[in-house]
């Protein structure tokens, strides 16, 4: 059979894009409808990061009230700036992603796995925009005025990098969970370890050079450092390597797309 020529492909590009937009918009619309009918569900999803943050801040106060925050004046702000991007990454990559996808026989043929993943990422981004306003707004009103970032420019790149890394890691888990039955358990463990070594609870620059070197291979650490540098003017930037972060983010997106492409045919089998 004759394959379509390049000109034919370009000519049909407009129609294809319109159809694709139609599908994504329909899926987004439905997500919005679910939220409107069941608002409690989406609110409870935001409860975990809030509880973790509150718990850690409370614990810290109870253990040593006098000890200063690792950086800046407020303990709450320090942990919030660490856990916010970390939980954004987790929300995108973890099991909600798997739940949002389902099997191909539970979809209509026009909807693809990648569409669901994109819609999932957009919805999480909206969730976390609201959560960010809530958390940093509360810290601003009740604790310290530093909660308003002095420089907004690194925030968006940092969160975009988190989303890209989350996409890659999520797709990797999604595919491996189908291939290896116990991968789900491994992934949960790995994620818990990643929370500890991503620099959400410490400033990596204050660690010993040897440890710092090993930890700096984790791209998530750079994303959190970049995010924090928008809040703290004096944030140390020995470890922070935005080039490495950019490469990792691009690699993660490419890996995710590649895995989707490679495993597409065997998805439902």
């Amino acid at each position: 059979m004759k394959r379509p020529t390049v000109i034919q492909k370009i000519a049909s590009l407009g129609t294809d894009l319109r159809r694709y937009g139609q599908v994504i918009l329909a899926l987004l619309w439905r997500e919005e409808e679910i939220r409107r009918h069941l608002p409690a569900e989406s609110l409870f999803e935001l409860l975990e990061p809030l509880l973790v943050l509150a718990g850690i801040v409370l614990l810290r106060y109870m253990l040593s009230r006098e000890a200063p925050a690792p950086l800046g004046v407020s303990v709450a702000l320090f942990y919030a700036t660490g856990f916010y991007p970390k939980y954004f990454f987790i929300a995108i990559a973890l099991k909600k992603m798997r739940a949002s996808v389902g099997s191909p026989r539970q979809r209509f043929p026009v909807e693809q796995r990648l569409d669901y993943v994109i819609v999932h990422i957009v919805m999480r981004a909206l969730d976390y925009a609201i959560l960010g306003l809530l958390v940093f707004g509360c810290i601003y009103f009740f604790i310290t005025a530093d909660a308003i970032p002095y420089n907004f420019s690194p925030l968006l790149p940092a969160l975009t990098a988190c989303a890209a890394l989350g996409f890659g890691w999520g797709m990797f888990n999604l595919v491996l969970m189908r291939l290896i039955w116990f991968w789900g358990y491994v992934a949960v463990g790995v994620n818990r370890v990643l929370i500890l070594i991503s620099g959400a609870m410490f400033v990596p620059d204050f660690l010993s050079p040897n440890l710092r070197y090993f930890l700096s291979f984790n791209p998530e650490l750079h994303a959190i450092a970049l995010f924090r540098s928008g809040f703290y003017p004096q944030y140390p930037n020995i470890v922070l390597d935005t080039t490495y972060l950019t490469y990792c983010a691009i690699a993660a997106v490419l890996l995710g797309l590649l895995l989707d492409r490679v495993t597409k045919r065997t998805e439902g089998r």
Partner: protein, 231 residues
Amino acid sequence: MIVLDQVTMQFTTASLTNYSRTRTVLFPTSLAIPSDRRIAFFADPAEDRRMFIDLIGGLVLPSAGRIVRRVSVSFPVGHLGSFEPRLAVKNNIAHLARLYGADVQMTVDFVESLAGLGEAFNKPFGMLSSLEKKTLGRIVAYSIPFDLYLLTDDAVFGKKKLEDISARLFEARSRTAGMIIPTRNMRFAREHCDMGLVLDHGKLRLFDDVEQALAVLPESMARPVKVRHRN
């Protein structure tokens, strides 16, 4: 027209009691299936029938090769896909219309008038009984204008009322669109179809006439199957 280009379909069954084995539903096949005819589709067993219909509809992708759809092809009639159990039936149908770029209000009105669900139409989809879901499944695919409809085994026959609706829809849509109808009912095939498609042991053959197709049907497909129970 739907063009199959070296399409192969095989899958591996994993089971706890037997060794996993690879089964081929379709050997490499290149074929052009017209989209403006009523095609009776014969295959055995029922899983293969469904697998082929899903393949044409795009619910599953072939193991190798590609399928080019030059026309809009429906999802299998009866398939309710990603209907969200927490959302009202009405909203789900609106979602479907948006997915396929059809007129939302018209689609919702069409399904509402035919399904006769009454109050249940505004209830969450998950709360419907299985019969209501079945009724909905048969109507939903017809509510969107496609060039080719894919039917499933139980898309035409069933309870009396449901059968009437299905038959009416089937007649109305097949005037303007093509159909692929998997069936084991020879009389139905002779009366309603004008082409035959036979999938026998992984080989797919298209016939211009149903009688020709019926003539080459293997014994197992031509006779109604007696279900034998062991023990």
